[in-house]
Amino acid sequence: MKRHRALLAHALGALVRRRGRNAAVAVGLALVVALFTAVLFLGDALRAEVEAGARHVPDLAVQRLVAGRPALVPTDAARAVAAIPGVRTVTPRVWGYLYAPPISANVTVLGATGREALPPAVVAGRALRPGERGACVLGAALADALGVRVGDEIALAGNAGADAVRVLRVVGTFHDASALRTADLLVTSDTDARALLGVAEGFVTDLAVALSTPDEARVATDKIARLIPGARVVDKQRLRRAYALTLDGRSGLLTAALLPALAALLLLAWDRLTGLSEAERRELGVLKAVGWEVRDVLTARLWESALVAFAGATVGVLVAYVYVFVAQAPGLAGALFGWSALHPPLRLTPQVDAAQTLALVAGVAVPFIAVGLVPAWRAATLDPDRALRGQA
């Protein structure tokens, strides 16, 4: 322990003596780690959003198409679907998009009947009471975009053909963790939603179907298609697979984005592999000449490389965190995920897989340290006089 403390102190001194080169190497490593980690953080955050959203998606969503366009579903169809074996519950839903001029974007309006799976935690204010009219709960991002808080009122004009303007009091906002699902969501009473969206009584937008087991999905889908002419059934499992495919496609782009980082890492490694400067070689020779053993030289070198590598990697992870979760990954998010055009903007919720991040740091730092030991080992195993003469 005493030996390691002394060698660590020597390594710190060496770090300071070669601060220019070490700082350059640490910055290079930090950039590489930041790029890797930013992509990792982005991917994790997106997967978490998708997973959080998928948890609340019904096993089947039954919609209807007429002449290739979405059409309303008769509420009576719910009873027929509920009679299909394997179907646990059927929830008629009223929802749709409403253009909101103040933010120049569409808002998703959902009518609450009290039976549907509502988004999770309301963080500010409260949830809607059954049948409560003239009130709404908003996604946090939507509330931000509209500049409203709990207790404020908003006025919304209904879609063409719908009832007149509705004034709704904001009674709560949803948690950021469900941002992908709730960012542009406005939940109001069934009556208010129908008025805003122009959905007549006796019809709903779709039916949310819960199954006894997901394995029933294919059979239930076939039966629903026979029961309701023009039915389009969205299967949760298929939806998940579609998400997975989309993410896989994006992962191809991520890999492409990683190539420059990999190239930079290889360049750094090459520099370490071949790059003992004349002064460094001479220093190793002096250490050997004054009686240091090979393991002493390598240990000091290991400490020095480890300090540089982990300092660089730590800074890289911090930069990635700030870049992704504070700055919302400008450039990368828009280029890779394409949601930067969504209104209101989606705020990524920090999702950090500590084990994965540590593995990434180790994956970058450990090879860097190991590669740095190669020229040091070559110099340290020479006779001291040859190392002193720079013959390493």
């Binding site: 403390r5 020597h10 001194g13 002096v286 240091w292 002493d296 006089d385």
Partner: protein, 244 residues
């Protein structure tokens, strides 16, 4: 000379037998040191003299375990350095041999004290006693006020004494110096010889390479070994303390 023969004199401080060192660069083979057999008595001040390229520095490196011989053996204070594995040899060298290089080999960017204490780092750093000893050495060599100065700011003479202090910090029995008077003016040469003689009088065994007659011809030198083309061609003991 005030030294008296001791029991240790019975065993040479440095005992080299049939030492050879060849370098093979793939194109040609050069024998830099050829069949050198040599015994250096403890507490003596010897000089290895010879022209440039005669193999003095290589022989000094072989004697101090700094260079592995191609053949032959060398022992220091009874420790068979040439037979030891690298890590044992490094440890024995640290304990037994102090080495002053011709270019001094001080590390720039470090203070004089840090340089002097460098050999003690692998043992966990200097103990309070070792630190006090290092300070005493620096004071003795008139470097006390420069202890915290970075070595690149020191003069040539100060750096040389600093290198000597580093060579002595582990209190080795044997001190080897490569051209200690090179590039020094007359007064400085006299200082260096006086210092070496004083260290010898304290019981240390000292071997220095030189092609400087001011050192080789000084009456305080106990023995002059002449080297030419890697071979020992002359051995001139001068004082009563020489073993032969």
């Amino acid at each position: 000379m005030t030294r008296a023969p001791s029991d240790a004199a019975a065993r040479p401080a440095i005992d080299a037998r049939a030492l050879c060192k060849r370098y093979d660069d793939g194109v040609r083979r050069r024998e830099v040191v050829s069949d050198v057999t040599l015994a250096v008595a403890p507490g003596t001040l010897s000089v290895l003299r010879g022209p440039s390229g005669s193999g003095k520095t290589t022989l000094l490196g072989l004697l101090g375990g700094m260079i592995a011989p191609t053949s032959g053996e060398v022992s220091v204070c009874g420790e068979p350095l040439s037979r030891l594995r690298d890590h044992h040899r490094a440890r024995a060298r640290r304990r037994l041999v102090g080495f002053v290089f011709q270019d001094l080999a001080l590390l720039p960017g470090m203070s004089l004290t840090e340089n002097v204490l460098l050999p003690l780092v692998p043992d966990g750093g200097a103990t309070p006693a070792q630190r006090a000893y290092a300070e005493a050495l620096l004071a003795r060599f008139e470097l006390g006020a420069l202890a915290d100065a970075r070595v690149e700011r020191l003069s040539g003479g100060e750096r040389q004494r600093g290198a000597l202090a580093r060579a002595l910090v582990c209190a080795p029995a044997v001190l080897l110096l490569d051209e200690p008077t090179a590039h020094l003016d007359g007064a400085r040469v006299r200082d260096v010889i006086a210092l070496l003689a004083a260290l010898r009088d304290e019981g240390r065994t000292i071997v220095a390479t030189t092609h400087d007659p001011r050192l080789a011809d000084d009456p305080r030198i106990d023995r002059v070994l002449d080297l030419a083309d890697g071979r020992l061609v002359g051995d001139a003991p001068r004082g009563p303390a020489t073993p032969d």
